[in-house]
């Protein structure tokens, strides 16, 4: 069973057969021919270093003491490994405010992801497989909302939350994330669902299955890869958010990004805390990224407009 709506190319892999015997295929091989494959490889290694070194800088800074960070560059760790210490990490994990903010990040991210998956898959199924008047216009409405800037909603929703008394609550932050995750989620799933072979659905319907059963027994299992893409994307998006929480969370509901940004003012003297906190906050996304890279890439490719 293939899904025509999600790119099924090799994603990060590129063409399956990297070095075939046939000469002079593709622009790359021509470039390789002219400059020598060695030159291109060296250039690409340098580029990769450009991408890696900044992250290494953060990691190394987090593994050095406050005084070392104030006195010398993080790269001196390579020649003076005695600087290596986990002190920053133990300090940070002993800080109850930081721990609470990590907990808040989880409390915000998990419900916001689950809710988006549930609500959007229901809506996407209706848009893909149930006939009703105005369906096309509704779908186009979802496409239009894909690019709506969050900034437009900040003031109106802040006002609304103020009136309802949910300003500063985790619920408020979660619902905002769910709503702004929906256009992308519905769009992605609708495209995937409508690519499901019609015969499969018809067969289920002939058996007298109700729509909800068709949805549960046929569409959901088939749509699992797309749902996985969506869940990962939404998870990362909410986990990494700063702006929404900056506006709608208070001190008790602040996620890690908001808790850390208060330290930015004295950046120089807070390098140990900021680098350690940032690296810890990156760990979950990085694990998710490396573990589910395929789905992540598919999500990005399918929902280019986010």
């Amino acid at each position: 069973m293939t899904a025509p709506t999600i790119p099924t190319t090799d994603d990060l892999g590129g063409p399956p057969d990297p070095v075939t015997g046939s000469p002079a295929r593709g622009l790359a091989s021509r470039v390789l021919g002219r400059f020598g494959s060695g030159t291109v490889q060296v250039v690409l290694v340098l580029v990769a270093l450009f991408w890696l070194v900044p992250v290494l800088g953060l990691l190394f800074s987090s593994l050095r003491s406050e005084t070392d960070n104030a006195d010398s560059g993080w790269w001196t760790l390579l020649t003076a490994p005695a600087q290596l210490t986990l002190h920053n990490y133990s300090d940070l994990l002993a800080n109850s405010a930081i721990l609470q903010s990590f907990g808040n990040t989880l409390l915000i991210t998990v419900p916001a992801t689950v809710l988006v998956v549930v609500i959007s898959s229901l809506a996407a199924y209706a848009l893909a497989w149930i006939e009703f008047p105005g369906r096309d216009w509704l779908t186009i409405g979802v496409v239009a909302l894909l690019v709506l800037p969050i900034q437009v909603a900040l003031i109106p929703i802040a006002k609304l939350y103020g009136g309802l008394g949910v300003f500063g609550s985790i619920t408020g932050v979660v619902l905002f994330h769910v709503a702004f995750g929906l256009p992308f989620a519905i769009f992605l799933l609708r495209n995937f669902f409508s690519g499901i072979p019609q015969d499969l659905l018809e067969a289920a319907r002939m058996d007298g299955a109700r729509e909800l059963t068709v949805f549960r027994k046929v569409v959901l299992p088939i749509g699992l890869p797309a749902i996985a893409s969506l869940a990962i994307f939404q998870f990362l998006w909410v986990w990494n958010d700063l702006l929404v929480a900056l506006v709608f969370a208070d001190a008790d509901s602040a996620p890690i990004t908001v808790a850390l940004q208060t330290q930015l003012r004295q950046f120089g003297s807070n390098v140990d805390l900021l680098s350690t906190g940032s690296f810890l906050s990156m760990l979950v996304p990085l694990v998710v990224f490396f573990a589910f890279q395929r789905f992540f890439v598919q999500g990005v490719l399918a929902g280019s407009t986010k």
Partner: protein
């Protein structure tokens, strides 16, 4: 390759009716059950519709209305807030910066993406390379901001950007060991670019004393040895430059026992205002011009000997902060563009390329005439996506720009937040107006998406 057509959906009702008709009354009955659930669709859609309505549609309307009221929301002011947005200096800076962002950043990222996608097509470790470049997409913008604040720290001892800049600079222009050092008063005059020229003139065979002051003996370059006066009997113009500390019983302008020579200084012989010979002092501070024609010379120590060392650039200062933040965004988004374009390249039918080659096209022609037109739509989608992303940029500026230069790095999304929620802000009329301006800026992209969507459904 991006978002496939949904043609199957369109065909659904007709085929269903055909099926129903073919199967007679029994099938028609079940078909009616299938055709009725308009209310069921509503049930499936209800939670999404409520959330989209409350959080996305209503705010647009509210913002447009609110933008025409004053900061308290009590007085109707028409379009005054928009007028203020275009005259208020900080909002204008934000608009100007957004323009720079839109003009520069998406183009650079698209070009990089295409370049790396093509270059990695035939590389064995393409997967690893693409993974490395794609990784920043998973990291929060906040963490990326912290990463680049570290990279661009001003002290070259701390920030890797300036450390690299200083290393490269010093590789081409050797650093001076004598910053701030000067010739002892009365021994010479400063001319031109801080060059020291001796007051007296000398002839070949004379010995020149160049007593230096203004540094600690411990700061001398390693290897500096005890200063000596060059011996007589030579016909060369020669002398010694040394650190004339003149401690306790020492004598100014004379070489004492404890004093050390100043090695590595550039010394020039000047005749009639023109440099005729150049040499460098040795470990004991001595120098000599052996082959001078007879005549009167002055000796000069070029100012470069005493230049302050290069310390790199003030990356996070008002002048460079926007390019620096753009560089961080490029670091984040290039992987996205590359992955997207690589998927597009992989989808190009090999036949088309082979046919063009068989017809005798060079690789460059094939690239321009076949690949680019085929990949063009993908590039456009990438570009539009990047433009939308750029317009909403907030976190990077908020995190990377230090307080002092944040005003220079301002962008609309940040300005909107500052005006509405930031310290000293609270003008939700102006904030709403900026929000609406942002909305208007992404409107073309919205229409682009709708058109693309409708075309692909056909």
């Amino acid at each position: 390759m991006t978002v496939g057509p949904a043609g199957t959906t369109e065909a659904t009702p007709d085929r269903r009716d055909d099926l129903a008709a073919a199967r007679g009354p029994q099938a028609a009955k079940s078909s009616r059950r299938k055709r009725t659930p308009g209310w069921l669709a509503l049930l499936f859609l209800l939670p999404a519709l409520v959330l989209l309505g409350v959080y996305l549609v209503y705010p647009v309307v509210y913002s447009v209305v609110r933008s025409m009221f004053d900061s308290d929301g009590n007085r109707f002011v028409g379009l005054n807030n928009y007028g203020e947005a275009f005259t208020d200096p900080s909002t204008r800076t934000a608009l100007k910066n957004n323009l720079i962002w839109v003009l520069v950043a998406p183009t650079v990222v698209t070009v990089f993406g295409l370049l790396f996608a093509v270059l990695t097509e035939r590389i064995r470790w393409a997967v690893a390379f693409r993974m490395v470049l794609f990784m920043p997409m998973a990291i929060s913008l906040f963490a990326s901001g912290v990463i680049f604040r570290l990279v661009y720290q001003e002290d070259p001892e701390l920030g890797v950007a300036n450390a690299a800049a200083v290393t490269v600079h010093d590789a081409f222009a050797a650093p001076s060991h004598y910053p701030g050092v000067r010739l002892r008063d009365g021994q010479g005059t400063v001319v031109g670019d801080g060059d020291y020229l001796t007051a007296k003139t000398y002839r070949p065979g004379d010995v020149v004393n160049l007593p230096l002051v203004g540094m600690q003996a411990t700061a001398l370059p390693p290897g500096a040895s005890g200063a000596i006066t060059p011996g007589g009997g030579s016909t060369a113009l020669r002398g010694a430059a040394w650190l004339d500390v003149a401690l306790l019983h020492g004598h100014p302008n004379a070489i004492d026992k404890v004093e050390k020579g100043a090695p590595g200084l550039t010394v020039q012989a000047v005749k009639d205002g023109a440099v005729v010979a150049t040499t460098t002092t040795g470990a004991d501070g001595t120098f000599s011009f052996p082959d001078l024609a007879p005549g009167d010379y002055r000796v000069q120590l070029p100012g470069s000997n005493f230049a302050a060392p290069f310390r790199g650039l003030t990356w996070l200062g008002p002048g460079l902060v926007t390019p620096v933040i753009i560089s961080c965004w490029i670091w984040i988004m290039t992987g996205f563009a590359m992955t997207f374009i690589a998927a597009g390249l992989a989808a190009i039918p090999r036949d088309a390329l082979e046919a063009a080659r068989v017809d005798g096209g060079t690789e460059w022609q094939v690239f321009r005439k076949v690949t680019v037109p085929l990949i063009g739509p993908v590039l456009l989608v990438v570009f539009v996506t990047l433009v939308i992303n750029v317009l909403k940029i907030f976190e990077l500026v908020y995190v990377i720009a230090p307080g002092a230069s944040q005003a220079s790095a301002n962008v609309l999304a940040l300005q909107m937040w500052q005006v509405s929620f930031g310290a000293g802000g609270g003008d939700q009329g102006l904030g709403s107006a900026i929000g609406v301006i942002l909305f208007l800026l992404v409107l073309p992209a919205m229409l682009f998406n709708i058109r693309r969507f409708r075309r692909e459904r056909r």
